[in-house]
């Protein structure tokens, strides 16, 4: 039988891999991939809580994860549009070299 701790451990590993990807990639799209992995880990935890935690309305966890997926889709669309706009400006989306706000 699967129990909650196993789901949470898988979620934690997925989150830390996503964090590593988000911090180590220098390409903006790569950073976004790491963020999506972290959001997936959060969703996995929410669905796990919905499945196992004692609650009067257990479906709420799944509703939360549907909301997280919605927000993630909006965020991905805006972030990728930003990446394309920045590329037009600088011919590069290397986040280490994005220092146009610094003077």
């Amino acid at each position: 039988m699967i129990d909650l701790e196993q789901v949470l451990v898988v979620g934690a590993l997925l989150f830390s891999i996503g964090l590593y990807v988000a911090l180590s990639r220098r390409n903006a799209v790569g950073v976004l991939m790491g963020i999506e992995l972290m959001l997936n880990a959060v969703n996995l935890n929410l669905v796990g809580f919905a499945r196992f935690v004692d609650s009067p309305r257990p479906i709420d966890g799944q509703v939360f994860s549907v909301f997280v997926i919605t927000v993630a889709a909006a965020e991905a669309a805006v972030a990728l549009a930003l990446a394309v706009a920045v590329y037009r400006l600088r011919q590069s989306i290397d986040v280490d070299r994005l220092n146009i706000l610094k003077w």
């Binding site: 949470l8 451990v9 934690a12 390409n27 992995l37 991905a76 549009a81």
Partner: protein, 168 residues
């Protein structure tokens, strides 16, 4: 489905998800990274099914494996010279220490907390109907705000990628 099959499926899918997530971290080529990311998303969708969240699994396949990954491939192909190159990744060791520490803390808290769990085998007879009821009863306001958010994000994305010479 009997218990043993679910457990085996859960661990195989967890292995697939974490393995392809690791490959996302390891491969240099961003297009390959997106392909492994899709595999990881599909693995997470399978994990949702083993947790009896079938509606969320379908949404995951449609939105993550379908829409977001196609958006990412478009973004990589629209940014050609930088898109393929992930050149020398700097500061690798400190990043892995930070990520490992964060993961260790989450695992520690997850294992130490005394969760109020119950084992109900048929907890969700039908998730789609229950999620629909929840969206239109206790979660009406977030539901409406989410639709406004999607419209704003769509308009914002269109304005951001509009060619500059079209500005009136």
């Amino acid at each position: 489905m009997d218990d043993a099959a679910v457990v085996v499926a859960f661990w195989l899918l967890a292995l697939l998800t974490l393995g392809s997530a690791l490959m996302v971290a390891m491969v240099r080529d961003l297009v390959h990274a997106v392909l492994f990311l899709i595999l990881s998303f599909v693995g997470v969708a399978g994990l949702y099914i083993t947790l009896s969240a079938d509606f969320v699994a379908v949404v995951q396949v449609l939105i993550y494996a379908g829409a977001i990954s196609v958006l990412m491939i478009f973004a990589i192909l629209l940014t050609p010279r930088s898109g393929r190159d992930n050149a020398a990744v700097s500061y690798k060791a400190p990043i892995s220490v930070v990520a490992g520490l964060v993961g260790a803390v989450i695992v520690f808290v997850a294992l130490k907390t005394d969760w109020a769990t119950v084992q109900e085998d048929d907890r969700f007879p039908s998730t789609a109907a229950a999620i629909g009821d929840a969206l239109l009863d206790p979660f009406v306001l977030p539901f409406e705000v989410a639709s406004v958010l999607l419209v704003v994000a769509m308009v914002g994305a269109i304005i951001l990628v509009r060619p500059p010479e079209e500005e009136a």
